[in-house]
Symmetry: C2
Subunit: 241 residues, 2 copies
């Protein structure tokens, strides 16, 4: 018996219409559909997929064992997450060995900070894989903000807000245009780095881009906490236009 | 009479199936369809659009006045390109003032190094605009290369190969993961910068990703010239996985 095929599908930033034609087709045809989610949520990727998932499909819901209860710096974090990804990859491998094709759904693009990469790393040597790129969260944000990001020979840096204050400042100094991801409890540290590099005034805050509850404003006008998955945009040089 | 609506549609990297459902819908419905191209070519964005363009649509083909005949550093370059974009924006504005909706097609994503930005800059104050994000060329490349790009808190830098040798080296030193665009005659300079920063061995060369003629290989195995729109990928840190 031939093994199944693993398709890792980028589902885009939230608006189901921002799925690609290819992701929609493979999703509709897939006998097994898998996705990651928080233990207390149905899962954002699954919500985007909506009724494109066949009612007869087998579903594999991979609930993270924790979210922020264990800090990333704790060695236990890596150990427990590795065990979790081993388990997810094992459950997908069982389907693939049985000859079933599997679609693994992924918010945004699968290869840009996506959990799907950890499954891909574990399976791609043994099974045929297709990666279907998705609209990234950052592209959703700059489209909603109507903020052209990079003209001419601007350099764009995509920076995780989880970096320490010194690294953040250094990275921002070097970037012409910047996207800062993973805000949450890092917001004040990021604000300080933007201020120190003279970029606070130009920064744009975007939350839940392309979704009904989306918010978009100048960072200087934004108050209160930011969800982890919100994004700050710093468009590139005006004089490169 | 109400003015028309300008939709700037990301068409993705080449495979027509990598268009979003939203771009495909707006394209089908649009009475006027515009795109940029080289004077001697039909235009890549138009080719991706294929028969989704209505046979009754008015088409506006904007042929660049030159490609590489005038170097970017020549002041005449900026002057002549600005005049060209003024003209394109003017032709779109005429349709919008007549109450016609216009779809402006854009390879990849409209706000990441796209000519559509220069039209947006000229029109967005006067007319209602919608930006539909697209799959970027770089996401097309890393999907085809099956190269997960950024794990953990890797920083991704998107670097134009048109930068000078010193800037290229500095930018590469600072990046965990890098995408180098605009290769063409910059290829040897980029190879040198990759070698000097110890990244040549990990670099992946991708040409015409997601299209029938696509090529993908280790950079060290790639010989001969590279088209301007080919891309080099340097995936992020192995130890962040």
């Amino acid at each position: 018996m031939t093994t199944g095929h693993l398709s890792i599908l980028g589902m885009g930033p939230g608006d189901p219409e921002l799925m690609t034609l290819k992701a929609a087709r493979l999703l509709r045809e897939s006998p097994v559909v898998a996705w990651f989610c928080r233990h207390d949520r149905p899962g954002h990727a699954r919500e985007i997929a909506g009724d494109l998932v066949s009612p007869t499909a087998t579903t594999l819901r991979f609930a993270y064992p924790f979210t922020t209860e264990i800090p990333v710096s704790d060695p236990a974090y890596l150990v427990r997450m590795a065990r979790f990804y081993d388990d997810c990859a094992g459950r997908i491998a069982t389907c693939l060995r049985d000859g079933q094709d599997v679609a693994l759904l992924c918010e945004g693009d699968p290869f840009l900070f996506g959990s799907a990469m950890y499954v891909f790393d574990r399976l791609h040597d043994r099974f045929p894989c297709t990666i279907v790129p998705g609209i990234t969260a950052m592209a959703g944000c700059w489209s909603v903000a109507q903020a052209p990001m990079v003209h001419g020979d601007d350099v764009l840096c995509v920076i995780p807000g989880t970096l320490d204050a010194v690294s953040l400042t250094t990275r921002l100094e070097q970037a012409d245009a910047a996207v800062i991801m993973k805000l949450g409890r890092n917001l004040e540290k990021i604000r300080t780095a933007l201020r120190q590099t003279g970029r606070e005034e130009r920064a744009i805050y975007v939350e839940r881009a392309t979704q009904p509850q989306q918010r978009c404003m100048k960072l200087t006008e934004m108050q209160g906490p930011a969800p982890y998955f919100s994004i700050i945009l710093v468009p590139g040089r005006e004089d490169a236009r």
